[in-house]
Symmetry: D2
């Protein structure tokens, strides 16, 4: 019963098959191979415009390099206060940006509140200031807390950002889950809504390892390739990553996998609610955040369920756990089985 993380899973069989096929024969290294070039074309088709694509080995590299490319030397980045770039990436954005400042924004369910952004713009340093000045907004889609920004929400946030000259980045480590949930096209939730660059994650979606930065305006990518190479982020046998991405994108496999993960999360949420447990944030993608009694948590873990407690800082006060409760995170993936979910719900009943 793995609900600890979607990167605890292995890989979809179709990805593994593609990887094995890609490993055959001989191909130029460092991305000059045909598979990598096919992926670039495939992503331009998927996003309905010419895009610039750069493979990277990790989501942290993807985000940090993209933000460094979008920010001038005095740039600061606005991110949700629980965003991965702030809470889980070991200072990588600051490091690659030569000191970029990250500014945490509040919002329920890991989604930045539009009013908070507006207020921040009134309060935060502007051009000419002695502080790093907001130069980019990053939206985590799906969010760290299981939320999904709707197309109008992204439009509104991006418009507010662009009105002040900020670039807009989307951390899509769980992009597939968001697109599957939104039932929109990838173009609609990205550049058509104002996103300039996307960290497109395949690893949590069903690859062993597949991450990329997608720039919708190739001009923004001017220095990017050097930054990526200088960062030691170009896998020599690049077809390894490209082939996995192509397998995900073939016949909508990526969305099938994401829909499955989302459905497992929805079933978990429904079952937990039925059993009387509170779930403060909406379950919109593949993560469920119930408040559970500590004795139950212990029992579930003893029964073999893997999952983590979660910080409560972004909870509304009325949602805060009682003394003997905790907020926990349950993550589902392409590999989660209905049987696992039912077993968990039985144990939680």
């Amino acid at each position: 019963m793995n609900f600890a993380s979607d990167n605890w899973a292995g890989a979809s069989p179709r990805v593994l098959d593609a990887l094995r096929r890609a490993a055959e024969g001989i191909a130029p290294a460092y991305g000059q191979d045909e598979t990598t070039q096919a992926l670039a074309r495939r992503l331009s088709t998927l996003f309905e415009r010419e895009v610039a694509v750069f493979l990277t080995p990790t989501g942290t590299a993807t985000n940090a390099l993209a933000l460094a490319a979008l920010c001038p030397p005095n740039g600061a980045v606005l991110a949700h206060e629980e965003a991965h770039v702030i809470a889980d990436e070991y200072g990588a954005p600051e490091f690659f940006g030569q000191g970029t400042r990250l500014i945490g924004m509040p919002g329920v369910g890991g989604k930045i509140d539009i009013a908070a952004i507006e207020a921040a713009f009134d309060r935060l340093p502007a051009a000419g200031s002695r502080q790093p000045t907001p130069a980019a907004l990053t939206l985590t889609q799906a969010s760290e807390c299981g939320g999904v920004y709707s197309v109008p929400e992204v439009q509104a946030l991006a418009a507010a950002a662009k009105a002040r000259g900020l670039a807009v980045h989307m951390d899509g480590a769980r992009f597939a889950n968001a697109v599957a949930a939104l039932k929109c096209t990838p173009a609609e939730i990205t550049w058509k809504a104002g996103v300039d660059a996307l960290s497109f994650g395949g690893t949590k979606n069903g690859a062993l390892m597949a991450e990329a930065v997608v720039f919708f305006d190739p001009a923004l990518a001017r220095d990017f390739d050097w930054r990526r190479r200088r960062g030691g982020h170009v896998v020599s046998k690049a077809r390894l990553i490209s082939a996995q991405f192509l397998a995900l994108l073939e016949d909508g496999h990526w969305l099938d996998l994401a829909r499955h993960a989302n459905a497992m999360a929805a079933r978990l949420a429904e079952g937990l609610r039925t059993a009387g447990h509170r779930i403060p944030w909406p379950t919109q993608a593949n993560e469920v955040f119930p408040v559970l009694p500590r004795p139950l948590i212990a029992r579930l873990q003893a029964a073999g369920a893997a999952f983590y407690e979660w910080p409560t800082q972004s909870l509304a006060p009325e949602d805060a756990p009682e003394e003997d409760e905790a907020l926990v995170r349950l993550v589902t993936s392409f590999a989660t089985t209905p049987a696992e979910v039912e077993r968990f719900l039985d144990a939680a009943a």
Copy 2:
């Protein structure tokens, strides 16, 4: 007929099988999995002492992070003037070291000359200088030019370095080829000879992607894990890399693959010499550097042979190509077939 690079090959079938098996089931991410822990134990056994092991996604990351960990803020690195860290890594060592200076050392066949090192120490800035001061020596084993440092050579260079307080790093992107050629133990050519940290490359050896830093004195690795994580260099499904390494190390598979590549290179060198071509640098591992007439080069490429011309800066003057000649590099790998080699030699006759 791929002689362009050993990273144009795919992967050994045993590595692919291991990768597929590793992809099954569920395991903790970021290196907390059992496969990664088994690899750490396996490497301690291989090197005959407790080592600290850190997986990385690329050779460039491996070298740059290791050198950054070995150098204080005022440190410079001595490397062969054709070393990968100087010529092929996009300034990564300078970037991760916050400005580390690289100082090129001469030497035949890509191997630093011990006399050049001694002379450099007399000439180069020492403690109290206004310039970055040598703090680490890096040796590429096997070298960029097909050479292999013998155990006494590493001992002498490391002793000279340590006498001046430098740390010793070994860039082992082709470590397997060197160990196979030397017929020594991994311990003998590393820490027993004075090496403090090794970039252990599995990718060119037969993995799809497997690189690691091995610290022989874990105290030197104090800050390393943070540097690696801050660099975005921790693949979440770490078992992906660990399983490949374990497959290489099982039953000496890594050395079998390297011996094969080395033998293919030796056969190429022998055949080219028989055909009357000069090979200025000794062929000690899996790279051959003949001087070929340009018309022949054109014919070979037309026949489907992939290989690169190579800069001649490190050639002795008497070895320099004539007007209508060029120095070329032929790289063999675990995937090179005897038939390919003979086909190339036939075309070159």
Copy 3:
């Protein structure tokens, strides 16, 4: 009527005389001169122990270099949310620390609240975290908002920091004003209270330009001199700065100047309060923060008074300005005259 900043003033005549004398004759550069060596001895006497002293050209350099020296690669710095290092130093601490994260702490009057620190330690990432981990605490003495930490307050904050392994830095751009206000010895408010390194500012105190980092434990300064030189922060004619410091320290001139500035501020505060104006934060050094009606502000400026409005984020809600009011900052200096103060108070009456 300059109440805009204490760095709008020129220099004390005694400092100017010393500078002129120092400019005579010939002396070694880069700090090897006798004046600079005399200063080091003088500061060891002043602080009642052997200290390591490093001159720097600006307060920003002083703070950024000191914090970079105190923080390991994964270190974060706790500072008051209105501290100069956060609000006014152009991202220098992040830059020199290769990405150091600054974490703002609340507290009235620009002084970090001990309870906030304790709460932060419970909430903030600790060793092993995926976020930069607090490694240093910096206290601004006197604070940006006119407050002064008492000896017991510094002791308590430093003890809390040290109990978690943090180093303690004091930003003493207005150190003289604080010492003069506290009537304690420089040793008592620094290392005897737990401070590891001090940014000792002479510029606002009456020098043209005199700043230094003082390390109370020279071992902490190991890499510092290189960092300072690499930062381009060593003025070649170092006696220029040293002579100014020595002139300030001679016969307690620095404290005389600071006492004067503090007295001018006290008089301003008393007069404003008498005139019925609110002053939310205590006036403990050389800055006064009254809430004034906007029409009065306009009148004062028309009368030739220079001063700035101040952000209200750290005000208690009950102290917030009304619609037609603003919080302003009035800074006095060694050069402020009683006549200026009275003229201002007359205009404000």
Copy 4:
């Protein structure tokens, strides 16, 4: 008898007077003052075009910040192999450039050989390379070895650089000495000859401390001010530096001082040559590099002469010192007296 360095001298009396006057009264900080604005206008007049001027506290900061502004992330800098940026600046250019690589160029007398530059362009990595690619050329004027680039020499070097897309920087720590020697206008030897940015040094010329970057194309300075402020390189009482510069520039005082220093060097060179000593490099500014017998060196130092031995790496082989000789550097300044020079020559006879 100070011939150790021109920064061992104090300051011209006119500079000191100006400094004292500037220290009077009250003025805005951080460069918003009238003196600093007058300097910007004065420099635009001096250089016969609109220039962007940024004061800095040290020559090292000036060079490092200017080169960082001129280089993209993959940029390398070509500099004479004995240039201050390589040999004496503690790695500052690499640090501020986030890893900028410096590439040493040969040339007699500290001046880059145009043929060496042309050869380097054939050999060095170009766009698309895996190495940092030359993006800027820096010329030291006057050079570290007492040479001065003529206007046609700067034109030729700058043209060669610009033909390959490099920006051209001039390190003018001794710019006054060069202009005085060349009898040209400041415009002729800078932007009219192809220079994009100048490190304009006033400290060695007769100021206590006055350095600035002058950009001839303000567009190149886009990010510069932030870089400078983030570097902690803005002295708060900026009028301190500006007033010194204005005093130097008034009535050609800077050139008078430089002419004096140059004349003292010429007299030294003439006297030493008459006494039979070799001077391998031409004496074109305020530095003389004789080869002297070691016993004489000892005698001179015993007699109170301060000077340094100098590395011989850039000497032509036929100029190398014999066993019992050494190359020494004698630097003159505005403060050098004819009596000192004659005393030295007497002792050297």
